[in-house]
Amino acid sequence: MPLNVEMPEPIEKSYWHSPRWWRLALKELREILRDRRTIITLVAMPLLIYPLLGVTLQKLLMAQLTSKSKVEYRLAFQSHDDQRLFRQYFGQGHVIVAQRTPYEASNRTEPLGTTEDPFLEFVGPDQETGNVDVGTMISSGEADIGIIFASNAQRQSVQMEILYRSSSPFSCDARRFVEERFRAINEEFARKELARVKPGRLLPFEIHAESLTRSGKDHGPTFSLATLVPLILILMTVTGAVYPAIDLTAGERERGTLEALVSSPVPRHELLFAKYIAVVSVAVLTALANLLSMIATAYASGLEGLLFGSSGLSLRLVASTLGLLLIFAAFFSAVILVLTSFARSFKEAQAYLIPVMLVSLAPGVICLLPGIEFNGWLSVIPLANIVLLARDVFDNRVIPIWALATLLSTVLYSAVALSAAARIFGTDAVLYGSDGSWLDLLRRPESSRQQASLTQATLGLAILFPAFLILGGMTSRMTDVSIGYRLGINAGLTILLFAGLPIVLAAISAVNFRSGFSLGGASPLSFVAAGMLGLSLWPFAYELVLLQTPDRLSEFVKLFESFKTQLDAVPLAWKLISLALVPAICEELFFRGYLQTAFRAEMSTPWAVGLSSLLFGLFHVIVRDALFFERFAPTCFLGLILGLVCVKTGSLWPGMLLHSLHNGLLLTISSYTAQLKAMGIGNTEQQHLPTLWLVVAGTVASIAGGLLVRQRSRTTETKNLAL
């Protein structure tokens, strides 16, 4: 029966001022923030929990301190002279403090729970040698505080440095006790000086307090309450995210509003994204409320040194912590939305979430154990990486490469989880309870796809990145294996990760290899142009490397030279295969073939090329266990050229030729540096290439570019193929 076709009537366009996803998110937020259950998690819990915890902790510390018959502070001095000077003035300060009025006395800082004056025990310097390393004694716990005096002849005053451990409440109390007495001398002096006709003399003591960190000394990390703080904040962020996530997905289905929602002409992924924004917002608001309440409690109870690590409480620390919590909230919200989107009721969602939450908290709790060091493995384990990074932020000893790995891997995991949630949310399996299961996510589609979806591309990245980091790190530590074998292992890993992984993912998702990896043929002219670019781009990449600062350049050269020395023992052919040909082919398969082709189906070509180049650049920044951001610009530049070549020729093959020639040429040049130095290139005086070389390279590259521009863009052709 022929269908009765009518002309569709024009549909009215909307003229709202903000993007639709944001308006949807605002509606979700409005709804969730009016719910009193959210308010309880967001406001009531932080307001109650931290003061209660603070009081409990304070009582605990008091109980510990009052159990001693008398508080005893151990003081270490640099010399006998320092000790004598201390004795001379301390008594004076102590008398001033004792004579203060009740109002002034309210600011006194005796240790918690004591009313009697504490004993002072002098544990250094050594009676025989008269010398002592005050810093070591403080960090090892042999003394509570260390005091170093230095006379300032110019200012006619004495510099007083107090060393202490901010992670120890006892050490902090000792510092306050001593510092207050010497400040009292200064204040008394200032009072008398102001009463003089011609005041002008400077204060007798310039007091500085310095906190010693565990990492700064020989002793390994020990457990402190500061390690617990990130985990508590993470737990509270989780609590904040759980209820909105359930309510906005499974709850909506249960209430019967989900059907009306998915009956609207708004893509399901946009509806889910709005819900995701709402869940992340509530989670971050909960984190902020908890952080502020924790800070207020810590400040009021004098526990900030104990809770906020060696650097103490600062704006930088608060901002960093909040940033980490935002990233964690973004990750965790995406994960729980996967689970709650699949649930058909509130109870079912809770049943899914409870075991997952318990299991997922395990890595965070394990990270509380003393002696756990942040490394490549841990930087890609969800939750553990955030807890460890937060711990290092608190201790002021962040290692940039692991911080970057944490951020990147968390963002990738979030993207994968969100894509999975978007595939599940509002499907008929959830909406109407038809026969669907988790396996639907992994089921091979019946009809083949022209390219990988954005979800599959993100999944590829999320698997590749941690695997690349961990396996790459392992091979760089194989020092007992010969360099030739190591190159072979590296090449094998490159094939496994950059070629094997996308091929397996494409096979699982029924992606057509020819279109999904842009493996179609290209004209001979495309190969000529790509070859010319492959031979002419290296001078520009070289000049881009020279843009870095001299220090970084010498560091880079040092790393390169040590590697080059090892490589000298390897035949050039093997070097070219393992370091030029294999990476070029495999990286092209992954970045331009798998990723860029998938991106182009979802976004405009400039965005797709830009994004794949950016990722290409980021992967090249990681060199062994270090970050070389200087490699980012030249690699991105190369990635852009390769991406454009792929778009213009509609094929991956010319790009593979370009990439192989580029890598091979750089490798060959590095094998003949002695000859180049003889020509005056590469010396300290003449680091830049001769202008003539750059002009020639520029001309060749321009001709090649011209040839490519004349090529018909294969964009339309590819899109037609996709239909």
Binding site: M1, I11, R255
Partner: protein
């Protein structure tokens, strides 16, 4: 306005294939109310969901104003208003916020949405509780908000899935008035129901659905003539007495190969 052509849907359950809708075809014109009648499990709701593009048919297709539900689901959704007995309201929003939200979802401009809201307030007498939280509304008030929600974007096609389920006499009367209003507005309306008294009261034409297959279609008079029964109740009893002969002749369970 609505054209359903050989629509079929299979579900898989416990390794077996269930035919929920089997080669269903019918058409509904503008200003016509079509009743999709059948006992529970006849495939009425599944049919409506396929027309709306929420469920993909196993084969066949449905068209709304020339747009195919399988290939252009968003264009189809834009032109349909859905009223379902299982629809709920956002408890923490007011009817005003909720109606404006749905207008936005369907691409109605803010100016037009405000004007539509005023029309809906007048049509369904929502003024008294328009700024009250939905959680505090009575059942009747909630029903009126649900009916208004489906009309906010002024769709040319309306699908009503068991619209009177769980309603009292007053609520049912409101729905009857609503359907009459939709007819007078020239909308193509499909009402799915198992309440035969209602169907004969409001529908211009009816299709009797059983085991996913359309057994009889026509006006009430035509159905009387074809079935030889004087009322819909007898027609149904006669229909329920008939069993499907094969997979081609009605909904049934097919063992998986």
């Amino acid at each position: 306005m609505i054209s359903v052509n050989e629509l079929t849907r299979h579900f898989r359950s416990n390794g077996r294939t269930i035919v929920a809708v089997d080669g269903l075809s019918f058409q509904v014109k503008s200003g016509e109310v079509y009743g999709l009648l059948g006992p529970n499990g006849a495939g009425k709701t599944t049919t409506l969901r396929m027309i709306l593009g929420l469920l993909a048919p196993t084969s066949g297709d449905a068209e709304v104003n020339g747009f195919r539900a399988t290939s252009q689901p968003d264009e189809v959704k834009r032109r349909i208003g859905l009223v379902s007995a299982s629809s709920g309201l956002y408890q923490w929003l007011t009817p005003r916020e909720m109606l404006m939200f749905f207008a936005d979802l369907f691409g109605v401009s803010p100016l037009r949405a405000r004007s539509r809201l005023d029309e809906m307030v007048a049509l369904f007498d929502l003024g008294e509780f328009i700024d009250q939280r939905c959680a505090t509304l009575s059942t009747g008030q909630k029903q009126r908000v649900t009916l208004a929600r489906a009309l906010m974007h002024d769709p040319p096609v309306m699908l009503l899935d068991e619209p009177t389920r769980g309603l009292d006499v007053v609520g049912t009367h409101v729905v009857f008035q609503y359907i009459d209003k939709l007819r007078s507005l020239g909308k193509a309306v499909v009402v799915s129901t198992h309440r035969l008294d209602e169907a004969s009261h409001v529908c211009d034409r009816m299709g009797l659905l059983h085991h996913g297959r359309l057994w009889h279609e026509g006006t009430f008079a035509e159905l009387q003539q074809v079935t030889g029964c004087s009322n819909l109740f007898d027609m149904f009893l006669k229909l329920l007495g008939q069993k499907p002969e094969s997979s081609a002749s009605g909904a049934e369970v097919i063992d998986a190969p």
